[in-house]
Symmetry: none
Subunit: 401 residues, 2 copies
């Protein structure tokens, strides 16, 4: 479907998309986190908003952060798939371009017989990982004409990016996923990826040489080697001037993938709100990402998630309203019920406020239950939310005569 | 979309899908059959379930039993079409493989001038049909290298299956659908079906010879000649170990088409429940089919359908609950309103119970009206119910990173 791209027009109206990561939940004692939280401001806002539940990828499908956000940005998550290595590279804050081949890497322990003893090098500390990455960075800045970028992650994990115009996707993992066997060579699955495979294998050999005297972390394993998908920008597609305010690198990276400017906004809700207020004159689409609700969900901390939603209601919502965006959407990227302690397949509540919304005619509140009865019902594909944001800001022309 | 197949993983959790055939109804004096029935157990269960209405094929489309069940099993009913001949063969209890060419057959009366006098041979009795089929079976066990299988149906109807590795689909009917004309030759619509056409025409000639002295049933007509579609099994697609408990042959056959084991379970709800309890240790997906509600619907007997639903609520539901499945779904395959006396296009109420469901927050009951207000709303495609069953049993991995 080439809609809404072919219909998009620029105008002065300003859209704010607020994502409370992992907002959706599951009931404990009959009520979800959102339903339990006292949210007078959101509830008042819900009365003059259209409500619904959106489905990130499909009924029953649990989305990762990549597909969930791409869908919210109006990109079909089945068409534009972001590989694990790319997401990790975005997650450590690397500015990844379409030419960059990204990989997840582990420090590992290999025996003198060439067999893997420990795929995680005894889970070395994050500090040790940082030191070792610095050593690799110094020792292997380039491999021929391929620039090598190494960044530490947590414990034994790190990220490596190979940067060169001639690299390609289509590579197997070197990580055999088992111990007691030899690591694999990285193999090219197509001729265009031959050079990439040579670079990856050369990197692995060089690492083994540099790390030879290490007691535990004397080898590295690569997996998820991939380049970012080629994605037309939101400017091209929707004629928007978009900006991202997010404290977590992965979400900044995902926003950059679709061509958003990433605004420096500090790491607190306070500084982010200040930046939002400051920047709304420069952009007509602002994406504000708040991570904390998802973390409370993954920690299984029902009370913490409730308190975060209440704090959002009390501290953030009134200030957002005072900024007077033409279209305001408050939602999540997916559900992270504290009872599951992980992302889930459940649909996500959303609230859409503009002068041009319909109401369901119920005494509203912002909750999963109210959203299920909302005018957008319980199965709006997340990828179509962008249509609604554009439509309510009058940025879509009529289709057909 | 290769979802959910690519995400399916096996685990120990057990799913029960209960199909009350033709469950959905239409109101008489304001309430449907399900709404009229006193169902305290289902209503209590609805309070802790997610509710919705599913749509078997598409809005306004009345499904046959084949597409309705394939959709419930997670198979796109537009992609996997089961021909009428195949369905009839399954319906008389034949174990049909992908090589079997199946046809619906009628005994008919033909005049000495070669024109059809009666396409139904005066609607001979079922007993007479059984005798004639035995005669054909004895007289025509093979046609060259093609095995011929004949099974009686009701009145003038029977089923014939041609079994040989070289047969193919793509055949016209011999039944001209009119009397006073000559029957047609079966024609191959593609070269691969030539041998099939020869076998079908040879069968018709042989039947005419064997039946020449019959006063009424002196000829046979064939239609709906087809092989079953090639369908990947539920094991392959969903990593399930599935079993079917159904007393009617057609549903057992449909289950076999998607690779379910068919469990011997007698012909009463009592023996079927015993078999379910016995077999749940051996399988992780159990499909329990109860036909009676559909028959009451086709008989136009509102009271009988209400009573069957009440009997199900009283006798069956408590026992199902005691079996403690991880996911329990109670639904129909389609609607059979007694006012229409046939399948209809109306959506079908479903109830999904697991520890991971959301509620609509209403005083619930299991009814069409409550399901329309449920968290899955009123237009869930039936084919996506399987996604929900898999998701709620934690058998689907996350999509994307």
């Amino acid at each position: 479907m080439q809609l809404p791209d072919s219909l998009a027009v620029a105008n002065e109206k300003k859209i704010l998309l607020v994502v409370l990561d992992g907002l959706g939940g599951l009931p404990v004692d009959g009520l979800t986190e959102l339903e339990t939280a006292a949210t007078p401001n959101l509830d008042r806002l819900a009365v003059r908003s259209s409500l619904g539940l959106h489905v990130p990828v499909g009924l029953g499908i649990t989305p990762g952060s990549g597909p969930a956000h791409l869908a919210l940005f109006g990109y079909d998550p089945l068409k534009y798939q972001v590989g694990r290595g790319v997401l990790e590279a975005l997650g450590v804050g690397l500015d990844i371009g379409p030419q960059d081949l990204c990989a997840r890497a582990n420090f590992a322990t290999i025996g003198k017989d060439g067999l893997l003893l420990d795929r995680r090098a005894g889970r070395i500390s994050t500090d040790r990982c940082t030191e070792l990455c610095a050593r690799l960075r110094q020792a292997i800045p380039m491999l021929g004409d391929v620039e090598v970028i190494v960044r530490p992650g947590r414990e034994h994990r790190f990220v490596v990016v190979f940067r060169c115009a001639e690299l390609a996707s289509g590579l197997s993992d070197s990580d055999p996923q088992h111990e007691g066997v030899a690591p694999n060579e990285v193999r090219a699955e197509n001729p265009a990826a031959e050079k990439s495979a040579r670079a990856a294998n050369a990197f692995i050999r060089e690492c083994a040489r540099v790390l030879a005297d290490e007691p535990k972390a004397n080898f590295v394993l690569l997996r998820g080697l991939d380049r970012p998908p080629r994605i037309p920008s939101m400017r091209e597609r929707f004629k928007l001037k978009p900006a991202c305010i997010a404290s977590y690198p992965m979400y900044r990276g995902l926003a950059r993938l679709v061509g958003m400017d990433v605004v420096e906004a500090g790491n607190s809700w306070e500084t982010e709100l200040a930046a939002l207020h400051e920047q709304m004159r420069n952009y007509d689409f602002l994406f504000l990402h708040l991570k904390e609700t998802d973390k409370a969900g993954e920690d299984g901390d029902f009370e913490a998630k409730v308190e975060l939603i209440e704090r959002f209601d009390e501290e953030v919502v009134p200030r957002l309203l005072r900024m007077n965006f033409d279209v305001l959407c408050i939602t999540g990227d997916h559900s992270t019920p504290t009872r599951l302690r992980r992302h889930s397949w459940h649909s996500v509540p959303f609230l859409l406020c503009s002068p041009y919304v319909r109401f369901a005619g119920l005494k509203e509140e912002f909750s999963e239950a109210a959203c299920a009865r909302g005018v957008y019902g319980c199965q709006t594909p997340s990828v179509l939310l962008m249509n609604l944001l554009l439509a309510h800001s009058l940025k879509l022309e009529k289709f057909g005569a």
